[in-house]
């Protein structure tokens, strides 16, 4: 396993060298004897399945936690960061997988955290901070008022703010842990071009993603982890690194076709869910959230409806409105021919509607609680007897079976879910809703942070559910995913449905056209 250095014509000395790093948590060895190098002006992809140890490695590099053993050399000097500040001082800037903005502060303050621009008298100049941050977020294509509190932003917007912040810091090494997991094509393209520019300036970048096309397109080299061990390095060989090669390294066997195009299934089911003229009010807590401006939509039993749209197009808002999570101003929703008006998620769930929300950390997981509780919380009725006592054995059996089908990597059902890798957390949340067996399942970014193998499994599961007659609405920012599983696809823009086509006819180009019309024209209204 010798790193093939031949690819780079004149290999500059490594900026960062990781030598034999091991990290153990209680009972789990997350990393074992991992070594790698990053050179200035290079984009190194770090790949691996969920739980392979990518985030753990990156956290060690950015001073969040110390390694159990091993050595790190940065710029020729041994590097033992005790806290994130030590890393930051050397020019190591990190975008963490779990969003790490401060929700109570504004966008501008988050960007300038700890380094607010000072005016005369040494006092913070709010005006300068806001002006500068406006320019900074504009670089990643974000156009919002920098005085908005971060708690009012969507996940995608938060991710963009984090990226913008990281890019605005003086850096020699940028560590990006799944920065694109909630972004759509447009934003990803912008990020890629910025990364390209940084590479030219001699900045080193470590980049983690589960979207292999992305990785393949931008990475100069890749390091692949498997079960906490080094699985190997891959180099650009004239052209981009090919996906099958990556997958083989990741999973240890030859890759099969991952995104199978849907065959034209016979979806003759009746209309199960029907939405007419749906409008929502501006939510006082989230002034930034898109308002639906009259959405009409039909969802048939046994069908997977893909919903595509750019960040902020209103897809999440649509899902939340149907689910009773947000207040509806006008319009009707009918389920199996009966008009329904769910006022709370509990109402919607009782009617047979489920929602996997996009913001895992804030809206889905109970971080400190065990996996078992996280799994069964939406189906407590199913796993308890009439007297209200939990039927724990049944509950455990159910979890065990989902653990197998979804290949959830975990230590025990009692383990707090925060100890799981991001992708595995997502699988537990999916299992939560599968256990509920709803009539209508809405999944909002269902595979955010899920690795390729598991992603295919999730798609498989969605198809199987649909085959059993469940109506599925899938919101995803990853067009290949939308194309892979949808029987039918609608596109949204600014709170309206802008197009519809059968999945089999759709292409990325056609969808993009419907999704992305010039937004700036309408911005002033």
């Amino acid at each position: 396993m010798s790193p093939a250095e031949a690819a780079a014509p004149s290999p500059s000395p490594a900026l960062l060298a990781v030598e034999g790093v091991t990290k153990r948590f209680a009972g789990v060895t997350a990393l074992s004897d991992v070594s790698l190098e990053v050179r200035p002006g290079e984009i190194l992809g770090l790949l691996g399945e969920n739980g392979a140890g990518k985030s753990t490695l990156l956290k060690i590099l950015s001073g969040v936690m110390p390694p159990s053993s091993g050595r790190i050399v940065f710029d020729g000097v041994e590097f033992n960061p005790h806290n994130p500040q030590d890393a930051k001082r050397l020019g190591i800037v990190t975008i963490y997988q779990e969003l790490s903005l401060i929700p109570t502060l504004t966008v501008a303050e988050n960007i300038f955290i700890g380094r607010a621009p000072l005016g005369p008298l040494g006092l913070v100049s709010w005006r300068k901070m806001e002006e500068d941050s406006r320019a900074i977020i504009a670089r990643v294509g974000l156009d919002l008022d920098p005085t908005t509190p971060v708690s009012a932003l969507s996940v995608a917007e938060q991710q963009l703010v984090e990226i913008a912040r990281a890019l605005s810091l003086k850096s020699r090494l940028i560590i990006m842990d799944e920065p694109t997991s909630a972004l759509t094509e447009t934003e990803v393209q912008k990020l890629m071009s910025i990364m390209g520019r940084l590479r030219k300036d001699g900045v080193a970048i470590m980049f983690v993603t589960h979207r292999l096309e992305e990785a393949s397109a931008i990475c100069d080299r890749m390091t692949v982890l498997r079960d906490g061990r080094l699985a190997g390095h891959l180099d650009r060989d004239g052209g981009p690194i090919k996906l099958p090669k990556i997958i083989e390294k990741m999973v240890g066997r030859a890759a099969s076709e991952l995104y199978a195009r849907p065959t034209l299934r016979d979806v003759a089911g009746d209309v199960r869910l029907s939405v007419r003229g749906l409008r929502t009010v501006r939510d006082p807590q989230a002034p930034h959230a898109i308002v639906l401006e009259g959405v009409d939509l039909d969802l048939k039993a046994g069908e997977i409806l893909g919903v595509a749209g750019l960040v902020g197009s209103g897809r999440t808002e649509l899902a939340r409105a149907i689910f009773g999570a947000d207040r509806i101003a006008a319009g009707t929703i009918t389920l199996d021919g009966k008009t329904i008006a769910p006022e709370t998620p509990a109402d919607a769930i009782a009617l047979g509607i489920g929602l996997v929300p996009e913001d895992r950390k804030h809206q889905a997981i109970f971080a400190a609680l065990g996996i078992l509780t996280n799994f069964s919380i939406a189906a407590l009725g199913r796993y308890s007897n009439a007297a209200g006592f939990m039927a724990e054995r049944r509950e455990r059996e159910a979890l065990a079976s989902y653990r197998k089908t979804l290949s959830i990597r975990m230590a025990s059902p009692e383990q707090p879910i925060e100890g799981l890798s991001g992708g595995n957390q997502q699988k537990v949340i999916l299992a939560r809703w599968l256990a509920r067996d709803p009539k209508v399942l809405i999944v909002d970014e269902p595979t955010r942070g899920v690795d390729v193998g598991a992603k295919a499994e999730v798609h498989q599961i969605l198809v199987q559910l649909a085959a059993r007659g469940i109506a599925i609405m899938m919101i995803s920012s990853e067009l290949p995913e939308v194309l892979a599983v949808s029987d039918r696809i609608v596109t949204m823009r600014r709170g309206r449905i802008t197009g519809e086509m059968p999945g089999i006819e759709a292409t990325e180009e056609k969808l993009m056209e419907l999704m992305a019309l010039d937004q700036t024209q309408e911005a002033t209204q």
Binding site: A26, G27, F323, A325, T344, P345, A346, A348, I349, A350, L355, P357, H362, Q363, A364, I365, F366, A367, A368, L369, T373, S376, I377, A378, L380, G381, S384, G388, F389, M390, E392, A400, A411, S412, P413, E414, Q415, R432
Partner: protein, 338 residues
């Protein structure tokens, strides 16, 4: 194959958990040993039962407070509510506010112990419900609502009783405070039974799961279909119920309901819960921890009094030991995790 791995893994985590929960428990054991060495009669059954009887009042309320704190709430009104419920119980037991001072033990006055008990717990639960309603519907933080409750209930109590106590209950009522079953004081038995019940509810029922979930992440709980508001209201009803029950037992024990009862209890009760490992930010904690926390405080106070330590020094020692007990627990946990 997989099942064996699972089992050993589960076993491993359980041992770790047990050890972790041993933090306050080990400290409690240590205290008992130290006090016994200092004065062997400390461990006499009489004194142990004294301690159990003493912690039963605040302990009962602490059980209810555990529910509240698990939802990331707080109830500062418990001391005043205790006084209020006690006064209500006294009025019912005596059949009115006349004749408030007779110490007679004739069995015929008023409406009897059962009516008094019922009145105390119903009033307590209702008062809790009203506060829960203000918290969920008016969206006023629990701290503010129950701080308001603290002064309102005290004012109501003083108004009912015009500042004075109501004393002298019949023997059947007094049994709940002073009686024994075998050698064990009745209040201790009530507390133990309530603790077991609460443990079962929190650990083994759907409702208990929901309480933890609401405290762990209220928004996620809502999106998982839990009726968050109802659950929040319910925990304030529960703590109110326990304040009422504790009030009844206290009045029975003192043979008197006083307007000044329970002043400052909120802090004692919350400490018991927090020392027992329940997080003020919700979602983490257990009834077992609360019982240990209450016992720790009780043993500490009794042990220092037992050794006739001066009250000034007592304050200092109690404060330091409470901090040490929790610090020790944290230290132990950080060790086990490694």
């Amino acid at each position: 194959m997989t099942s064996t791995t699972e089992q050993t893994q589960r076993g491993g985590i359980n041992v770790a958990r047990l050890l972790m929960s041993f933090g306050p428990l080990m400290f409690l054991a240590l205290l008992i040993v130290v006090f016994t060495v200092l004065k062997p009669s400390f461990i006499d059954p009489i004194n142990i039962f004294n301690i159990m009887r003493q912690i039963s009042i605040t302990g009962l309320i602490a059980l209810g407070m555990t529910f509240v704190i698990l939802t990331a709430g707080i109830d500062l009104s418990v001391g005043s509510l205790l006084a209020f419920c006690g006064m209500v119980a006294a009025v019912v037991a005596k059949g009115g506010t006349a004749n408030t001072l007779s110490l007679s033990t004739s069995g015929t006055q008023g409406f009897g112990w059962f009516a008094a008990l019922l009145a105390a717990v119903v009033v307590g639960a209702m008062a809790g419900g009203v506060q829960g309603f203000a918290i969920t519907r008016l969206k006023v933080p629990p701290f503010v609502v129950t701080l308001g409750g603290l002064t309102v209930f005290r004012g109501l109590t003083l108004t009912i009783s015009n500042g004075g106590p109501i004393s002298g209950f019949d023997a059947s009522m007094r049994w709940f405070g002073t009686g024994l079953i075998g050698p064990v004081p009745v209040p201790a038995i009530i507390f133990a039974a309530a603790a077991i019940l609460c443990h079962i509810v929190l650990r083994y029922t759907r409702y208990g799961r929901a309480v933890y979930a609401v405290g762990g992440n209220a928004e996620a709980a809502r999106l998982s279909g839990l009726r968050v508001d109802r659950i929040l209201i319910s925990v304030y009803v529960i703590v109110g119920f326990f304040a009422g029950l504790a009030a009844f037992v206290l009045s029975a024990r003192l043979n008197s309901s006083e307007a000044v009862a329970g002043i400052g209890y909120e802090l004692t009760v919350i400490s018991a819960v927090v020392i027992g490992g329940t997080s003020l930010f919700g979602g983490i904690g257990s009834v077992g921890g609360t019982v240990v926390g209450a016992a720790l405080i009780g043993v500490l106070q009794n042990g220092l009094q037992f050794n006739n330590v001066s009250s000034y020094t007592q304050s200092i020692v109690i404060g330091l030991i409470l901090i040490l007990a929790v610090a020790f627990d944290r230290w132990l946990k950080s060790r086990v995790r490694r």
